[in-house]
């Protein structure tokens, strides 16, 4: 096997091997260390793929687009596994989880990483669907792992809505195959994405239109776009916090990636209805809806889950708008959101463990009770609402200015939505971190390292984007901007 081929295999096989090993290994200390190790190795292979590209086949392919997703996926996967080690040790002490469940948890974590990587690497749209479904199922069982009534309700809702979404996506996938089959012939080539995109101009437009509606609704459910978002807040709130971080930071991106691939197929055909306006509409609806919903939240994890809906709305909006600048901004926003939101969930995980509650009303004065955590959480919220000097400011600024330049009428609801969400989050964060309290918590500073790393990366990106990264993103945008 060649070196690039080995790197590609590594991204898929390391998590698979990890899942097998961690499923049989007793003892959580070793398992959580190995969990980090496997995630680290996956990240290393993913980084190798940036430098060298194996020749694509009918099943798997590496291009500029999926390397961005792969690397961010593996990076957040690694930092979350580091956070998770401290988190689950506490859960074990609090007797919320048992050793048996932890074994299961670690195996599922690796399986989830592997399934997401497979979805990103898949060149075959059927294989991509299978991988997204596998990733969904692993997260369903992890959301239900606490077995409280609320957790079971959340997992059940997630399972039913996720399955319906994924079923609709499969129907759309079959329709795309049908459209391609009359041109490319029967069999594998008619499901290979690079073949589809090369020949999409000759496909039957009516069939593609119908397919895209199903795909948008199906994968849109997984992205968490309103009004198909109902599973998302519950799943985030009731599962273990590392899973909330991975759900928001990674799985939503993977679903978005799937949708983007089909959007590109649509864009190659002149006769179809343009996918852009549909995505813009759903994005705006999600943004504004989530913005208003943020005001009524009483649960801290649920609040940041709604913020994820808001940001997925913004990203979908940007990609729907299209054009070099909006695509660039959308891609940057996606990366920044992954880093920031997972950092916030790391912080929230510690907060809920220290305070012993998820109720916003019961948590106050974090900057006094645990200053470092409090200030970092505040920094995270400042980053997520889009204030400088963080990277989300850059991407939101780009999105807003492009919208003003291209279609000013869309800028109105966009800015309104951003402002609504901004005010809501700042108001809540104010109550959480400021104010006076008698409580004093101890938390070793090193346990905040993953959060610190993410926030510094986001702050760095806001001040200065290194030229190689800009160049790399430009390549991706060239791919997105056909």
């Amino acid at each position: 096997m060649t070196a690039p081929g080995a790197a590609m295999a590594g991204v898929l096989l390391i998590p698979a091997a990890g899942a097998l090993l961690l499923a049989v290994l007793p003892g959580y200390r070793l398992s959580s260390l190995l969990n980090m190790l496997f995630c680290g190795l996956t990240l290393a292979s993913a980084c190798l793929l940036y430098g060298m590209r194996p020749a694509g086949g009918l099943y798997l392919a590496v291009d500029d687009l999926n390397t961005v997703f792969l690397i961010i996926n593996s990076l957040v996967g690694l930092t979350t596994s580091i956070f998770s080690a401290g988190y689950i040790a506490h859960e074990l002490e609090a007797r919320r989880l048992t050793l048996k469940y932890l074994r299961f948890y670690h195996a599922m974590y690796q399986l989830l990483m592997g399934a997401m990587n497979l979805a990103l690497l898949a060149n075959n749209i059927g294989l991509m669907w299978v991988a997204v479904e596998a990733a969904t199922l692993t997260t369903v069982v992890m959301v239900g792992i606490y077995r409280t009534p609320a957790a079971i309700e959340a997992a059940w809702k997630y399972f039913i809505l996720g399955s319906v979404g994924i079923a609709l996506a499969l129907f759309g996938t079959i329709l795309v195959y049908l459209a391609a089959q009359s041109q490319l012939g029967e069999g594998l080539p008619a499901m290979a994405w690079n073949q589809l995109i090369a020949h999409s101009a000759s496909f039957d437009p009516a069939l593609l239109n119908l397919a895209f509606v199903f795909l948008l609704l199906g994968y849109g459910t997984k992205i968490g776009l309103a009004p198909m978002h109902a599973w998302l807040p519950d799943a985030h709130a009731e599962g273990p916090t590392p899973i909330s971080a991975v759900l928001s930071g990674l799985l939503l991106n993977v679903a978005l990636f799937a949708l983007l691939r089909f959007k590109l197929i649509m864009a190659g055909n002149a006769g179809v209805l343009s996918p852009g306006p549909l995505m813009v509409t759903l994005g705006l609806v999600s943004l504004i809806f989530a913005g208003f919903m943020l005001y009524r939240r009483r649960d801290i994890k649920r609040m940041f889950a709604y913020s994820s809906i808001e940001h997925m709305g913004i990203i979908t909006f940007a990609f729907g708008l299209g054009g070099p600048l909006a695509n660039f901004a959308g891609l940057l926003h996606m990366v920044m959101h992954s880093l920031t939101k997972s950092a916030i969930f790391f912080g929230v995980g510690y907060v809920t463990q220290l305070e012993g509650t998820q109720k916003i009303a019961d948590i106050r004065g974090l900057t006094r009770s645990q200053p470092l955590l409090g200030w970092m959480l505040l920094a995270g919220v400042i980053a997520i609402v889009g204030l400088p000097p963080f990277g989300i400011f850059t991407s939101e600024f780009l999105i807003v200015t492009t919208t003003f330049a291209r279609s000013p009428w869309l800028a109105l609801p966009l800015v309104a939505g951003l402002t609504i969400a901004f005010a809501a989050l700042m108001m809540r964060a104010h109550g959480l971190v400021l104010g006076d309290t008698d409580k004093r918590h101890t938390l070793r500073a090193y346990r905040l390292a993953p959060m610190m790393l993410h926030l510094s990366l986001v702050a760095l990106a806001g001040v200065f984007l290194p030229a190689p990264i800009v160049l790399w993103f430009r390549h991706v945008v060239a791919l997105l901007d056909r």
Partner: protein, 220 residues
Amino acid sequence: MSGLYFDIAHLLAGSLVLVSFMLLYQDRMFALLNVFALHAIVLSLAVAWQAFTQAAPHLYITAAIALAFKGLVIPGALHRIVQRLGIHRSIEPVGSIGVTMLIGIGLVALSIVVMLPVVTAASSIGREDLTFALSTVLLGLLMMVSRRNAVSQVVGFMSLENGLVLAAAGAKGMPLVVEISVAFSILIAFIVIGIFLFRIRERFDTVDLQALEMSRGEQQ
């Protein structure tokens, strides 16, 4: 291809839609499971017929999986679960049966209106098959929203999956990877559901989802 081949394919696919309607008005748990088994058997016949007319031997595997797994194993297992939990009493649907049936008819009409004109261009044997498949998918969705009970929601979901398998079989020459994966994912899904059912049982002594909704995460 002679007209008879088409007619039989349509007969089988049409029967699947008919059985979907039968699922909608079942009000006993065991009857529901029996009708679902019938649903899977009709599906396996339809897929086997597609395998024969398309001369695609791999579709026989899909048909066999549908017959053995969804026609026998799953209904049998669900029978046992229902018995063990003692929930074979009647199921309470959300709306009245009549209204649900009318909505179902509307959904079938919708899928005919949507699919038939579109698929004409794709010269495929599965033209009407695809319409029937979409109807089955939509009826499965309807069943999921019109039932409050976990077991009947699961049955609704599986009938929806049956519709997807029919669509995949009707799409000529669709690679095997998808069919096996669908069957496989149902297996996983079923295990997941099984775990859930037992967990739900432990907590509430019922599989009625209304009990779950009482304990919503966020009290306002």
